[in-house]
Amino acid sequence: MKRFALITTLAAVLSTTVALPAHADESPTLKKIKEGGSITLGHRESSIPFSYYDDKQQVIGYSHEMMLKAVDAIKAELKLAKLDTKLMPVTSANRITLIQNGTVDIECGSTTNNLERQKQVGFSSTIFVIGTRLMTKKTSGINDFADLAGKNVVTTAGTTSERLIRRMNEDKKMGMNVISAKDHGEAFLTLETGRAVAFMMDDALLYGEMAKARKPADWTVVGTAQSKEAYGCMLRKDDPGFKKVVDAALNKAMTSGDAEKIYAKWFMNPIPPKGLNLNMPLSDDMKALYKAPNDKAYE
């Protein structure tokens, strides 16, 4: 009897050791989530169609759905019956700090994975590839970046576009006045009220802003892409255990065709708040990404 008890105990210990993945103990983030029974998700407020509020103040979007896939995987990995998800809105300016100081565990919005940021935070597999282009009024006569010389151009503060356009202005002596707006919504307001002739931003976000415009038909997206960028989910740096779980979930979604369905939902069909269809077909870069997911930064 005693021996039997010993064996069962041993078996139980062994099975938990086997069942508990080794990295759950190594990963501080997974440990924190397991102990607290909750995970804090960072989201954006107006990054249409990636992560934004609908008219009922619910967070929705492509990146948000991808993040929820990762959350399901985390819950399964930790064998939790219940995992509370706390939502925390972040901005371009505070997202890195909030990940670093532990306020937010994972942020999927429209955050570019680049080498500079990799010094401070970690990134999951890429979930989207975009190009930086211009939105302008159809009647403005602006067709490409060269037409912007001497004009007012708006972009969003803290973005790669801001960096590129200011660099271009210095290098080519174009004499543009670059306005850095607080967020995409305010940048579009600056464009819509005529303070700027063009709005430089990631193409997908530009299509998103167009969906919010009073007269979407007045606007168009033009210009050769100045850069390609890889959007990833931001994680804390040096936490490979957590990254592995998140990556596995995202990669599975992308290779299994789930991600393409989510893409179609947000980019090829009418979306809130105005029921406008972005009509942005799957690019070659995106097709390549879905076939072979990776976490490479473009710059």
Binding site: Q100, N101, E116, A157, T159, N169, E170, K182, G194
Partner: protein, 245 residues
């Protein structure tokens, strides 16, 4: 948390090719100073005028002055700034509004900020000035009038020389507030100290260094203001009153 400190970040050339990151901070510092000082001058002039008007016997004038103070004091600074910057140009005739909006954005942002900050602070200065005038013994005004001064003369030669000197200490804190409130102007894109600090975070991903630099800069500004105002207070203090010898 694992943070990579890098104080040398300020000496790096900026990613946009316009000088070093230290140059960004310095230009933000200059912008904060010029914005705040201009706004303060507006606030002092308008505030003194409105504060005096609030105490005059004429019902219409004092009513107008009260309305002015209540309007600028009871609407949040941020809301006022958005009205000046976003709403006002839309109320102008379309051709003038469009021409204005196509002008250099820095000029637009600076104008909106100076006017907003100046008027907001003037309402607060007006309240201090009014309190200073009301704190004078009533006998002073009556004595002035009894001596044959007109009301404006009584204000000019009897009450204001006292009142203005009495309100210098409370005005010092308003002066400090102008510098601190000027950070709100970063929300419309004006690249003052706080905005440059935030921008530095975006470009270098070194939040602690830049926010510490911003904090120290504000402290330097405000300690300087406090020291100067303290000297000024001592010079003009009225013997026998609070702060006087």
């Amino acid at each position: 948390m694992n943070y990579q400190w890098n104080w040398a970040v300020f000496l790096q050339p900026s990613a946009t090719g316009d000088g070093s990151y230290l140059d960004w901070m310095l230009s933000g510092f200059k912008m904060t100073i010029s914005l705040s000082l201009t706004a303060w001058i507006i606030a002092l002039l308008l505030g003194a005028l409105v504060g005096v008007l609030r105490t005059v016997p004429n019902r219409l004038l004092s009513g107008l002055a009260t309305a002015y103070v209540e309007m600028f004091r009871n609407v949040p600074l941020l809301v006022q700034l958005f009205i000046w910057y976003f709403v006002l140009p839309e109320l102008l005739p379309v051709s003038i509004g469009d021409a204005y909006k196509q002008a250099n954005p820095v000029v637009q942002q600076f104008l909106a900020s100076v006017v907003c900050l100046g008027l907001f602070t003037s309402a607060r200065v007006a309240e201090q000035v009014r309190a200073g005038i009301n704190s004078l013994p009533r006998g002073q005004k009556n004595a002035g009038l009894a001596l044959g001064f007109t009301l404006p003369q009584t204000y000019r030669y009897v009450m204001l020389p006292m009142a203005f000197r009495l309100v210098v200490p409370p005005l010092t804190s308003e002066f400090l507030n102008v510098f601190k409130n000027s950070a709100v102007c970063s929300t419309i894109g004006l690249l003052e100290l706080a905005a440059q600090g935030r921008q530095l975070v975006d470009y270098t991903a070194q939040p602690f260094e830049s926010f510490i630099a911003v904090t120290v800069s504000y402290i330097i500004i405000n300690v300087t203001v406090m020291t100067l105002m303290h000297k000024f207070e001592k010079r003009i203090a009225v013997p026998g009153y609070i702060g006087g010898k």
